[in-house]
Symmetry: C2
Subunit: 239 residues, 2 copies
Amino acid sequence: VKLDVCFTPNELSGVDLSKKTVVVIDVLRATSTIVCALAAGARSVFPVASIEEAVRLAQVLGREDALLAGERKSLRIEGFDLGNSPSEFTPERVEGKHLVMNTTNGTVALLAAAGAGHVLVGALVNLDAVARAVAELGKDAVALCAGREQRFAVEDAVCAGLLFQRVRALKKGARYGGDAAVTAQLLASHYATSVPLVLSKSAAGRQLARAGLGADLQTCADMDRLAIVPQFRDKQVTL
Amino acid sequence: VKLDVCFTPNELSGVDLSKKTVVVIDVLRATSTIVCALAAGARSVFPVASIEEAVRLAQVLGREDALLAGERKSLRIEGFDLGNSPSEFTPERVEGKHLVMNTTNGTVALLAAAGAGHVLVGALVNLDAVARAVAELGKDAVALCAGREQRFAVEDAVCAGLLFQRVRALKKGARYGGDAAVTAQLLASHYATSVPLVLSKSAAGRQLARAGLGADLQTCADMDRLAIVPQFRDKQVTL
């Protein structure tokens, strides 16, 4: 079993994903939020490529059943029901609902992974559960970091490294497939005891703090809090 | 002075380079080779985007004055005079010549940087000289790693980290501008005493060894051998 890492969705180009497990990671914040939303009882999350597509799909699904969620520059999109803070996605707001979601990085990465054998949604909050799922599937795996506007984001790389450290502990013979995987593993070892600090010092974390959303950093750094593995298929993410 | 790193040319998108110094880095092998070629007396190197463009430009320059250089899958392009091994670019072959060059990653990165205030050609072989030039220019700087087919390449990231460590030692108040710069610096510290090993274990290094070009690894790892700073402007790289 080969474990590979892409630091941005652009790095996927040319990689055949059809027989692979892809774990999409956007720690700050889309995949953390999706995991929290499904844990809070949301029925599904539809990642979409634009605001216009979100509005259209929400209408098709019916505005009683579907909520619009997403951000631009960290803040809720105007006219949308929810932003991209995990704490907004309470059972009171989302239970039984479809969520139609568009964000700057995370939903882009999910859509880029759509052709893969399995697409799992990973974050620090469900790290252990995802590692077990990857090991059980037993296929070559790619950790696809959402990054930040197609640039490297350290918190996603650290999460990918921690994930694959755990997969290797569970799956004998699993090996790192390339330079990015080896580097992610080095980052994970280096920052193993300071993950919350990585988030707060990262470019994405500093932007969130400036936007008054610093509380999200703690929620997103709360490792292994949720033992669920959302899967993306047929255009929606479900449990 | 802000020091930023892009791990692939794709990461440049949206960055305004017009007032910045960009150092293009493709340790294995294009920028190492360009530095060696100019040190061996080549008059200039023209990076171009395709084989067809290389042939056309060499005809315009005159086949007596211009040599074609470049690789596909590490090997010399059919019909070209030279491949992409630094050791091929001897004074006997290249002195006084224009070189027209097309490679898989390095020339792509050079062309992507063309709009910048200054574009310098960096590698391990001229690391110290480039660090001094960046510090003397005194502008915000971007280390643009060529990477490998638009993916992360560890040897370029280590070179970028080593470069900016030296710039910071020379330039008071220079600071790292983003997640990739901080990560490159961590890689540089971690691998400071094992740079040749990084090259030989990297994906690019292993491909070169498989292609019978393992000797290039030592040439490209030979730090600070050449105190020259090639600059790319008006479509050509010169001293």
